[in-house]
Symmetry: C2
Subunit: 457 residues, 2 copies
């Protein structure tokens, strides 16, 4: 792989998290938290990323209010709708929304993503999550949050149902034949007819097949269940790694898993997160990172850390070293917590930080890799990971917005282009085009299909 | 009411049903069924209605594929998302989407509508339905479709939960105080804490209160349960009447019901459907209607009629009179079917049509009032209903699109303006402004609230 750098192209994705991924971004004078719940703010970010020919923008999501809301701007609009709004003012950029298989009905969610793909002319992606936040369950009438294995069992059925629904209309099911009065050929429309352990869905979707066949399936879970699910279903994977070696191990593990499922490894794109602080010199970049770290509210960080560690921390200990044993694995943590704990345990082991230093390390991007450096240094890191079997591209997680993405597209993207690693402009119109993913064949297609009768389908 | 015609203003709403409300609209050369699943088609219609200062556009919906798809273009995009797309290319027009309380979780749906209201700067409306189509149940894992009383019981709880969620952030809950690091005041954020018979929702919404307080609540059920529900909850009501006297009876019944619930009658707008064929002369208008009727596929119409009548019909009988007893009330029909049957029974009784004539009568707008006439005649009908206690405005249901709405705005709207019944342009920015509805007071508000910290909130 690393011997074809001129032909293989990076995927770059803008992960939009409110006014930035740094937890204190909203306090920085350059960010515009007052506009967080407006369409215009999101339009501006998406249009900026589109001008740089990014593959997609992406929103995380969970159907529950963050308990840290007092000190963190962790409220947000529903992402599928926000992307429908963005779709109307953009023409090329991919639109990836997170949605939960645990807390949605598949018929509703398949419709929402099919609609987003139609409205955007084939630019939709679905980041499939099972929702780790246990407080969400009580928003949906459940007494207990389903455990990870049950959540993933439902998720597997959910993806099967959703893909059946997206396939339910063959590409040539719409006739729109004014002369005969036949709008659709019922023999080319197929009921989902799914009866699983968790889900039952009888009918066909009430809209034609989406332009991309189905939205690009994205996944981000790092647990064992998450990796197995990703190997089987995902077409793109968002992942968090601090170290090249960890990222390489994950990359080979997933690509091997993908092959075991009889899929082509190049049809699954692995995109680690990177949260860059950029400066004219490394010292300037580090000073910028420090400026944000100094805006953090320790009370907030300690609460977050307490949840992760299942231990309590005291403000009085901020300048003492974090005890090495606090992040040892416990048997009763949830799987998702465990994979995030592993990241934190690695930081504590390698860097032996004070509590304050650890909070600052975690303030950046919740376990994703924060880099502070010159554009050349950041481009070097990206190039190294891309050409050494650790990444097919990156999920760019600016610590602050819009400034952080502006700095990246202005200073880093030109370097990547000069190295032949990133396109000058779009060469296709769909998210699948940008990522180099095939359009899935409809499971009911038996013969070469005729030209569809509908625009954009 | 009729003695203040100069001050009271009509509400006009564009009900977008694919390429028109006439069942054969898609076969007409003027319609563009090929664009039915594109954003651009919907943008164009919404922008047209906005130039005419209409109150809103509206989409019906149901989470199930119509069995008549072979002969009817009865497939469609999900309306909330479609309206989010429309919101991005419009500035004033209201955006009303139908969504089912039977087949959505309230936390998800409350978020979707809160987001639509934020993205549009306060233009969202929710047409609350319980979904009469029994086939939908099997798309959601249910063995049986809940009966109307159970559906309405759940709907009542659903609206209570949804309004609690929309109120969960007081208008001044967001502090966004960079200096202190406090983003929100947790004492001004309230959990839904709802435990009903059908629904349980624990937490608060994960986004601030929508600009309108909550989306405008719309309702359309004509059954007894539907009327009681509307009197209690609805702020606008879509209704179907063939005759002035029926519309007047409905109007007084609802306004009286509204008062019984302690609500102000002027805070509930009653909007009958009207589907106009316009011509330079009445004969031209009738010829246009005939042109569409002749495009109908009798096989389709007979199937629809069979479902409604719970009887079978034969193509050989098309030119014989419809037996008067076919639409007598039966005990086991669903309530929704019963209210539609009553409309059809009235037509059969009054007009004694042949089967073909009845199919043509029903081809227009599924029981809504079809009028064929000159712009003056249509404006006269609208004026009569508006000034004689039958309507606060109209849900305009063009038989074909975009031509039918273009004819209406070009020829009828100027007459209504000349009579002082319809505004020249918008006087406000939200859907509540257009309809003359108050912004609901937050149930948790105790003192005069300070200025909100967020744009558009």
């Amino acid at each position: 792989m690393s011997d074809q750098p001129a032909r293989r192209q990076l995927s770059l994705n803008l992960f939009i998290n409110g006014v930035g991924h740094h937890e204190a971004a909203w306090r920085h004078p350059s960010t515009r938290v007052e506009e967080l719940f407006t369409a215009g703010y999101h339009h501006e970010l998406a249009q900026h990323a589109e001008r740089a020919a990014f593959d997609a923008i992406f929103f995380a999501d969970g159907p529950v209010l963050s308990p840290g809301i007092e000190f963190n701007s962790a409220a947000h609009l529903e992402p599928i709708l926000t992307l429908a709004s963005v779709a109307a003012v953009t023409t090329h950029i991919g639109l990836i929304a997170t949605a939960s298989t645990t807390f949605y009905d598949p018929y509703n969610l398949a419709r929402l993503f099919a609609t987003l793909d139609h409205l955007s002319g084939g630019r939709a992606g679905w980041n499939i999550v099972t929702t780790a936040a246990s407080a969400a369950a009580a928003n949906f009438g459940l007494d207990e949050h389903p455990d990870p294995s049950e959540r993933y069992a439902r998720a597997g059925e959910f993806v099967e149902v959703a893909t059946r629904l997206w396939d339910s209309w063959q590409d040539d099911a719409v006739l729109a034949d004014r002369a005969t009065g036949r709008f659709a050929d019922p023999s080319r429309i197929h009921p989902a007819a799914f009866r699983g352990e968790h889900l039952r869905v009888a009918g066909a979707l009430n809209a034609p097949r989406p332009p991309q066949g189905h939205p690009v399936l994205v996944q981000a879970g790092a647990s064992n269940e998450g990796r197995a699910f990703a190997s089987r279903h995902a077409e793109a994977i968002f992942t968090a790694h601090q170290q090249l070696s960890d990222a390489q191990a994950f990359y080979s593990d997933i690509k091997a898993g993908v092959e075991r499922y009889g899929r082509r490894p190049d049809q699954v794109k692995i995109l680690p997160g990177i949260s860059p602080f950029l400066g004219g010199t490394e010292a300037e970049a580090r000073a910028l990172e420090r400026e944000f770290n100094e805006l953090t509210v320790p009370e907030y960080g300690l609460r977050q850390l307490a949840t992760l560690a299942e231990a309590t921390f005291d403000v009085a200990d901020l300048d003492r070293p974090v005890p090495l044993d606090v992040f040892a694995d416990a048997g009763d943590v949830t799987d998702n917590n465990r994979s995030r704990r592993q990241v934190v345990a690695g930081i504590v082991r390698r860097e032996q930080p004070t509590l304050r230093e650890l909070l600052h390390r975690l303030a950046g991007a919740r376990g994703h890799r924060v880099v502070a450096g010159t554009p050349e240094q950041v481009a070097d890191t990206i190039t190294e990971w891309f050409t050494h079997g650790a990444a097919d591209g990156f999920n760019v997680m600016p610590p602050y917005l819009p400034g952080g993405i502006e700095a990246f597209t202005e200073h880093v993207v030109p370097l990547l282009r000069a190295r032949g690693l990133f396109r000058e402009g779009y060469t296709g119109t769909t998210l699948r085009d940008h990522l180099g993913l095939d359009r899935p064949v409809n499971r009911y297609a038996t013969a070469p299909e005729t030209e569809p009768a509908l625009a954009g389908v």
